[in-house]
């Protein structure tokens, strides 16, 4: 049994060897943020969907340092630390119903107070949040933050709502829908802010990678109050 499957693999290897010249560095790049079980998760997040396409996109491949600078500028914060690097491959799921595209799912890793946080947003084709959730969260207050009521506060928001939210200070510079998002536990402030930073970063990346910088105009004009 092993022999037959091994033989098949070996045959595939030789075919692939001739036609596929993958740059080796790609295979050893930094780790991104994938859905734990894409088949199950896509069906759960988009009931009625019939399929999805997985895209791996890294900033260094899409535009390099200049793109990173633009993303940092839009985010209002630098990419930091050992793990938020230019070569992180982001996983963007395009979801389909039949032949029609019906939305996107995208997640990012964020540094939480006690461990890594994986923030996922489910978006419609216009980049508006349909759903928000933590795939992974290490926190003393995980139960409250993972409560569906917390995630529901993000529904209906888009990147233009986040532009006057300063991810460094955690404050908004004018009336903003983001202001209405309430932290369920004051002690979980670092994780709450990581969630907001992760959401803004998620939305910027999707805008850069797939929406053709649809929301860049709001950033250039100074945020929601100027729209």
């Amino acid at each position: 049994m092993l022999g037959v499957s091994m033989m098949k693999k070996i045959n595939v290897m030789f075919v692939v060897a001739v036609f596929l010249l993958i740059p080796v560095e790609l295979l050893f790049a930094a780790v991104g943020c994938d859905l734990n079980d894409p088949d199950r998760d896509v069906a759960r997040l988009f009931p009625g969907s019939t399929g999805y396409k997985t895209n791996y996109v890294a900033i260094d491949q899409r535009g390099g340092p200049s793109l990173l600078e633009q993303i940092e500028n839009r985010l209002g914060d630098k990419f930091k630390g050992l793990f938020e690097t230019i070569d992180v491959p982001y996983t963007l799921y395009e979801v389909f119903k039949g032949k029609d595209k019906i939305g996107y799912i995208h997640g990012v890793n964020e540094k939480g107070q006690y461990g890594g946080i994986q923030v996922f947003v489910v978006l419609d084709l216009e980049g508006v949040i349909k759903s928000f959730y933590f795939q992974k969260l290490t926190s003393r207050y995980g139960k409250q933050l993972r409560d569906p009521k917390f995630g529901e506060q993000f529904v209906g928001l888009s990147l233009k709502d986040f532009y006057n939210y300063d991810v460094q200070s955690g404050k908004t510079s004018g009336p903003s829908a983001v202001e209405k998002i309430k932290n369920p536990v004051p002690e979980a402030e670092p994780d709450f802010r990581a969630a907001l930073r992760g959401t803004k970063k998620n939305l910027i990346l999707v805008d850069e990678f797939i929406l053709g910088n649809k929301y860049l105009q709001y950033h250039q004009s100074g945020g929601e109050q100027n729209k």
Partner: protein, 396 residues
């Protein structure tokens, strides 16, 4: 000789496509051969290095206890069994032992890890012995904990990446509601250590309430010691299982040998095909030039001159193919390695395909031998051509 070489070369140029295709056939066979010999050499040395990098050649665990994190996770964090801590001293007294280190693996359920929760594993290690035994581990940030009772952690690179931790950050052991401080992040090793969270042994014993208990003891055996005999001795300890890394290596090599046999069979087939291709090309060339050979002989060329001419043509084809194949193998070594990694049941870290000069020389030797053997029949046939018959047959 140079004149004959020149004639042989020009003869091959007369049928460029046919000669080219034959060279490609030989090049592919040489490519496969160099890559496989390189894999044969690289795999074993990488596996040996990985096993050396484990720091110990033998692990003694409590009977039925999973001795590594992956198994522990698969079992859902259950199935831990313990040995008394004093077993370490008992083992250390054996004359074959160079060093020992005590370990205690624990796992906790984190309901917020993934959709339905997941396990996080922690390995308690003795700060006095473990770092010495794993002296090859390098730090990306920070260093090992030194206080055996400290609430500190050292994270493997992937564990740190998943938890987005850096030196100085707190890390929460969720079920126990205990906070530890990250004091070191290891560089990537390509081993299980990358996903491990290391804590001081005493701290793990206290946090998890398993005082004076261990799940494993790593043993570094003296070079001159008889491993088999020592293994038997360890089995005499009550309620333990012994995992010798030489056994692990043997098992891996057995698994890999199946793949190797398959791949070498393919290489053999590729070589046979190229041999037939060379014979066919040269034989056709001889048949097409019968008249020419007949004239050469009538002008005084001996059977040995004709034999040499045809043989040289074969050799030129084989040497050209060999050179291209060797260059191709060197250029695609990294790609071959990536593909092999996908196929093998276990692939050690480091270079899996090691191509060096001796390997290239060996392959060249094989290719030249193929050339000499494949050229014998066509050359012999050409040498036996009778001038008049050859000229007459072409005229007819």
């Amino acid at each position: 000789m140079i004149k004959i070489l020149n004639v042989a070369y020009k003869n091959l140029l007369r049928k460029k496509t046919r000669s080219g295709l034959t060279i490609i056939g030989i090049a592919l066979a040489a490519w496969v051969l160099v890559s496989l010999l390189g894999f044969n050499k690289g795999y074993e040395s990488s596996l040996n290095r990985d096993i050396d990098n484990l720091g110990f050649q033998m692990i003694v665990t409590a009977k039925g206890c999973p001795y590594e994190a992956a198994t522990l996770m698969l079992k859902g964090g259950t199935g831990l069994r313990y040995m008394p801590q004093n077993i370490t001293e008992q083992i250390a007294r054996e004359p074959e032992v160079e060093a020992v280190t005590s370990m205690l693996m624990q796992a906790v359920f984190d309901p917020n890890k993934g959709e339905s929760g997941g396990y996080s594993a922690y390995l308690g290690v003795d700060p006095a012995t473990f770092p010495q035994m794993k002296s090859f581990l390098e730090f990306k940030q920070g260093k090992w904990f030194t206080d055996p009772d400290a609430l500190e952690a050292v994270l493997g690179y992937e564990a740190a990446e998943l938890e987005q931790r850096e030196v100085g950050d707190p890390l929460l052991i969720i079920e126990k509601n205990v906070e530890v401080k990250v004091v070191g992040i290891l560089k990537r090793t390509g081993t299980q250590d990358d996903g491990t969270i290391f804590l001081p042994l005493n701290s793990v014993q206290k946090i998890f309430g398993v005082k004076d208990e261990l799940t494993g003891v790593g043993i570094k055996v003296k070079k001159e010691a008889d491993m088999v005999q020592f293994e038997e001795k360890m089995y005499k300890l009550p309620d333990v299982q012994v995992v010798s890394l030489s056994q692990v290596k043997q098992t891996i090599m057995t698994l890999v040998s199946t793949a190797k046999v398959m791949v070498f069979s393919i290489a053999l087939i590729a070589i046979l095909i190229s041999v037939v291709g060379v014979i066919n090309t040269i034989l056709m060339s001889v048949m097409e030039r019968l008249q020419e050979i007949g004239i050469l002989k009538s002008m005084g060329a001996t059977a040995w001159d004709i034999f040499k001419l045809i043989w040289l043509e074969t050799l030129i084809l084989c040497i050209s193919g060999g050179m291209i194949g060797a260059a191709l193998a060197m250029a695609t070594a990294k790609l071959t390695e990536v593909l092999i990694r996908q196929l093998l049941p276990y692939a050690p870290s480091g270079g899996l395909v090691q191509i060096n000069l001796s390997l290239i020389i060996l392959t060249f030797g094989v290719v030249i031998l193929i050339g000499l053997l494949s050229g014998v029949y066509p050359s012999w046939k050409a040498g036996r051509v009778r001038p008049l018959e050859a000229i007459r047959s072409q005229v007819e």
